[in-house]
């Protein structure tokens, strides 16, 4: 059955829409799970009650986000069958087992220990509880490992042969550890940490702006800024290395990201801004910096970068999209760097908790991690087009024999359901964050001691009490 261009386009929109909505939640979960493990570890080690308060507080936000991630993720794996059965038929032999490994080694680990982590305070001892929290955090990272391996294989496929037009795996080590995998894995894991750090920081800033300056608020604000100060520079370096790797394996993607049409001799300039035009094969209004392209992408003064014109038109990704999505990601990264550095400067002058302009800045940066993350994924995914498996299977050959009606209807349903359900979910997460951790004098027992470890302390502290409603 012939699949119309419209059905293909709608199927692509459906995937882009659902995966973009989905990734928001796992990114928050990955970051928060590790943060929670650190908080609980610190609490067990120091016995300071502030860590426990923060743990309880963020675990509530985590629980909502995690549930959103689970239910929106189920949709993803089924789409490979419903809309992209060509992809399943050709490349399922590689991506299927990787997905199965993710489910077996990560999803069950998370789901199995999540119950104990969220509801098990009174059922198990503190050490066992800490173990459960660790398992949930490790589970999220294992999950990242497999899904990034699968995605990276689609970007830089190897370790297989084609038999009757279908992928037959020959070397699983080569498949799992394909050339772009290490870079993409580290880049994504750090991105998730940054997503959580800017959100935790912004939540702290919001409460500081509202006049709450107790220990829990200060601590979370300070921890988030330390985290950013360490991780953002590393992320910049990893991103740079990832770029070199992409130039080696997917030169057309790099050319599209840079809006570079000609292969320039004796050093490539960099288009800072501009408007790449796919029809006219030119980048309008380009502001160029000589040699900077070579310096960034080859680490040499006059390294050569292939222009888009050296690829046949049917093999070119859409430069207009990836040129800008890439710049949005980098721009967000630079703003985060600025935030972290300002934070350090204020800290040295002892004004971290007083400078209101800085707190507003931190609050404003709340979504920056997610924006950068989404922009980065748009860059790498749209930059892989017109291929779904780079050089092996074109996107247009991967779509199921579906009708416009089917895919159009389901897209419409998904858009409505997602905005309704996940919109509400996000609203509740924001409400929870706006409520903030319990004030230290909220309950008598919290003041009683700063060293009260042991399970008996939990017996009177349920995760959230019936009075904890958040929509009144």
């Amino acid at each position: 059955m012939h699949v119309s261009d419209t059905a293909l386009l709608l199927a692509r929109w459906q995937f882009a829409f659902t995966v973009s909505f989905h990734i928001i939640f796992p990114a928050i979960s990955i970051g928060l799970a590790s943060y929670l493990a650190v908080l609980e570890g610190l609490w067990l080690k120091t016995g300071k009650v502030v860590y426990k308060e923060l743990f309880f507080f963020w675990s509530k936000v985590f629980a909502v986000g995690f549930a959103m991630g689970v239910v929106s993720g189920v949709v993803m794996s089924y789409q490979f069958g419903t809309n992209w059965s060509g992809f399943s038929a050709v490349a399922g032999a590689v991506t299927g087992p990787l997905l199965a490994f993710e489910v077996m080694t990560a999803f069950f680990l998370e789901a199995g220990f999540l119950g104990i982590m969220l509801f098990g305070w009174t059922k198990v001892g503190p050490k066992a509880h800490f173990f459960a929290t660790l398992m949930v955090a490790v589970g999220t990272l294992i999950s990242t490992f497999w899904i990034l391996s699968s995605n990276s294989w689609m970007q830089t496929p190897q370790g297989f042969e084609l038999v009757d037009g279908k992928v037959v795996p020959t070397d699983w080590l080569k498949i799992v550890f394909n050339p772009s995998f290490p870079y993409r894995l580290v880049h994504m894991a750090l991105a998730a940490f940054i997503v959580a750090a800017v959100i935790v920081g912004a939540c702290g800033a919001w409460h500081l702006l509202r006049g709450r300056k107790d220990d829990a608020i200060r601590k979370s604000f300070s921890m988030a800024l330390w985290m950013l100060l360490v991780v953002v520079p590393i992320q910049v370096a990893v991103g740079d290395a990832h770029g070199l790797n992409t130039r080696e394996h997917q030169p057309a993607k790099i050319a599209a990201i840079e809006g570079l049409w000609e292969t320039e001799k004796g050093g490539t300039s960099l288009n800072l801004v501009g408007w790449p035009d796919m029809e006219a094969e030119i980048t309008h209004y380009a502001v160029k910096v000589p040699h900077l392209g070579s310096v960034i992408l080859t680490h040499t003064w006059d390294g050569e970068i292939q222009g888009l014109k050296s690829f046949p038109p049917e093999d070119r990704p859409n430069s207009t999209i990836v040129f800008w999505s890439f710049r949005i990601m980098v721009g967000m990264g630079l703003l985060m760097l600025l935030l972290a550095v300002c934070g350090l400067a204020l800290r040295r002058h002892g004004r971290l908790y007083d400078a209101r302009w800085f707190q507003r800045f931190a609050l404003f940066m709340a979504p920056s991690g997610l924006i950068a993350l989404l922009a980065g994924w748009v860059t790498t995914e749209a930059g892989r087009q017109p291929w779904v498996v780079y050089g092996v299977l074109r996107t247009r050959d991967a779509v199921s024999s579906i009708t416009v009606d089917q895919v159009g209807t389901s897209l419409m349903i998904f858009v409505m359901v997602y905005f309704l359900v996940f919109g509400t979910g996000i609203y509740y997460m924001l409400k929870l964050m706006a409520k903030g951790p319990h004030l230290p004098h909220d309950e008598a027992d919290a003041e009683a001691s700063d060293t009260g470890r042991g399970r008996e302390r939990f017996d009177h502290r349920p995760l959230s009490r019936p009075t904890d409603s958040i929509d009144e």
């Binding site: 549930a67 069958g81 399922g92 087992p97 080694t105 020959t170």
Partner: protein, 335 residues
Amino acid sequence: MPIDLPVIWAAIIAFGVFMYVMLDGFDLGIGLIFPFFDREGERQVMLNTVAPVWDGNETWMVLGGACLYAVFPLAYSILLPATYLPIIAMLCGLIFRGVAFEIRAKARRTQHLWDLAFIVGSGVATFAQGVILGTLLQGVEVRDGKFAGGPFDWFSPFNLFSGIGLLVTYATLGCGWLLMKTEGELQRRMAVLMRPLTLALGATVGIVSIWTIAGQDSVAKRWFALPDLFFFLPVPILVIACLIGILVCVRRGADRAPFLLTMAILFLGYTGLIISIFPNIIPPSVDIWTASAPRSSQVFTLVGAAIVIPIILAYTTLAYWVFRGKVRADDEGYH
């Protein structure tokens, strides 16, 4: 003789799907009988019985889907387009239900809306699963390794009845689970509800069985060929014994037996289903060998499954053990 990987994999996936139907069956069932219970605090207790484990239960479905995709990609790429709209409906149902779990306890003003989302989500997801099951039983039109039917092929009386059948099955499971996990007045009302559910379950199992055999010669031949009939005969006999067992145990006020017996019925029905279609994976024309992924994919995934699935079973058991016993309205540590 080389190991017949597709058979091993068919067994693993059959196991995974059974785990899903059994485990998510009872927590979807809680949503289905939600409308009958609306006294103060009752619904929250019902939810609390599964709050720590529902997520793990649903993961078995993801496992079934992912393994099917990994080792029988052809079956995956036929079944999903063939049941496109029921799949979408099921996913949307699961979305509403999953989110309601998390948010219901935290909401006040909008709590009744989340209750509705939980009920309708559970109902739609269950019904859609039943329709998908019916479609599979009835057979899917395949040409050149692709789904060759229309977008509404799944819309048939038999498939819709399968949907109703699964609603009854899950509701009975859910009721049995709550009979085991609650006490006092709530438990007593569960016992009252369990009896009509059990009778309805017996009726639907009977109707689906007869309808399948009457409607499909291949299934009838499989069941009634001698001497196989004598091996298969215990299945329906045991189902009837279990149904009677549930009614007797409920009357005697047993805690656990009704739930265990309902699971036994589910297991027997599932066995019957497998007897009816094996070795096909998409009846009537695609068998497990045709649908198989390359050997290297099946081996690679099998190595992982052999190591990891026992570990999963161990800590899943642990999670159920930690949260064993009755759930009370004043329990702490829940939402």
